[in-house]
Symmetry: T
Subunit: 68 residues, 12 copies
């Protein structure tokens, strides 16, 4: 096991469907620009309610990826 | 942006289906008596297990609504 | 197990006797106006000391009661 | 010192000026409908930024008032 | 209500499907060896991402069961 | 001082009398099956209220005992 | 209301009787050397168990007193 | 409401004037390089005192901005 | 960089003006009796409301100073 | 990735040498009786000081191991 | 003291030797790409255990560096 | 076991070598002026980085000593 370093970023995924989907949306976006994603942690689950009553599920997740 | 004030209430939604459903149950109830719901935060996820093994999913959520 | 919703309120009971009494004082008051009290959680234990050295035991408790 | 009970409510005051003003806005609103306000605690300081860059200072405060 | 004692254990359920499933996996395993499961609390939600991009949903839950 | 290792367990003691009693009930039970109890920490104080208004005081305590 | 400043100290009261007594023991000691004690907060409740099974109740309390 | 993802960054704004100013300094800097700032949260308020007694007010804030 | 040791004290500054002023009041008092103040951290922001409606802003700050 | 379940235990390793050693002592003991240790988390670092001034470094660690 | 802004990043340093080394590994990596590193905070200490029993010490650290 | 009271103080030990050394430096200083040191708790681990890249390891520790 050689020395390794990971970097952590926090993203907030938002979905009109569910918290599960909100986390997946956040992870998908993170994957577009980052290589070596290794793990993540859900930090907060909030939500917004529009004037029309529509709910936006918001999941704050910290993702870790390996630095080369 | 004029001054605004929101009030926060905590409700615990319970469902026999899932956590997602438990949060929705809590929000639905809050909407029955409150106007101007704006956002919410999941504070705790617990559950009860009945003698028959049935699971009750319990989500504690803090909802904020605008005061007139 | 049908869907259920509970609401949580925070009260601070104060007693000149003890913390145990302070929690009981807070619960008694909550019962006067609320039906369906189901559980509670002690959140904070503080106290005040008067100029005469008298101690006031203060217990912050979150009580949950069932919404109809 | 007779037994006393306080109740706690959480409000979020919003101001376009400053955090100090946001707390005051929240307290003023609480005073309109509540008697016997005794103390408060700042729980969270957040803010929103509009599309035009205007900042809304948001202070979440828990206020305690004496129950008769 | 006679005196009762519960014991708490922490398990981490892992699923390739969702957090909801991960909690259920953890509870199922706990039930295999423990009697009198009464309630549980979700403590942490994390996840692992494999080299192939597969996601493992991990839920840390504290389960309480009654001691005889 | 040779190397030593302790193990920690969490139990929840319940009493119809008081929190003090609830902690003692939890400790008594822990002593029945564990040797070398050394210290404990109160982690949570909650309570249940029955339909008849009876209160059950619940204290969550982490007990540490020495491993041989 | 002129400007005032309080100082906070942390003491750990220990009693062989109860937590209530442990807090009182800590407060009594604080009073011996400090004037103007105004309020206190219980921060931690722990305990030690002697080889003979005797329990020592330990309460960590932060006391605030007014500076002249 | 289509799916959206926000990213969070933490900056520490420092000012010789006040905490309010320190937060504003941090937000101004964040705006120079980031588009779509949406909200922020004050995480920590600290300060430094120079040998000459000058105070530096330091506010740690987490800012969220929308990813395209 | 030789070894150094700092000591931390907690003071609560109170002002009838603002939180900013409350922190400054606390720091001024700390400076009267302590040399080598180096940094501080705001731990809590509370407030008291008098019977006449006057607000007292209270800031709990931990100050660190170098030991010789 | 099939469903998996881990169990977590908390041990406190004590060493007269250092914190690093204390953690290793705790892990070594855990390994004696548990198979499938996968990861651990340091939860607390405390220490005891004997009447002779000898220091005992104590590390509280939560270890997770795979259930078959 | 002119206004200054720092940015914070979180890295996780991993070492097969010790926690001290893990932090140093993380800091070294951060230095490769960042100028003006000013301070850091250890946020979490975890570890992984390989099938061969090898331990990987993991330290999560938040590093702050000055923005020009 | 007679009633006992301990007092807690917070010191920050700094070392150019390691965290282990930083804690020892803090404890050594505490011992110079305090009798009856009984235990301590590491509360925070931070560090400073000088313009020359030298690292200062800083450990915040709460020490408890027995009051006569």
């Amino acid at each position: 096991m050689a020395d390794k370093v990971f970097k952590k970023l926090t993203v907030v995924g938002c979905s009109s469907e569910s918290y599960q989907k909100a986390v997946e949306v956040g992870l998908s976006k993170a994957r577009e620009s980052l290589h070596g994603l290794a793990w993540f942690e859900v930090k907060e689950m909030r939500g917004g309610i529009g004037p029309d009553g529509k709910i936006e599920w918001q999941a704050s997740i910290e993702v870790a990826f390996k630095l080369d």
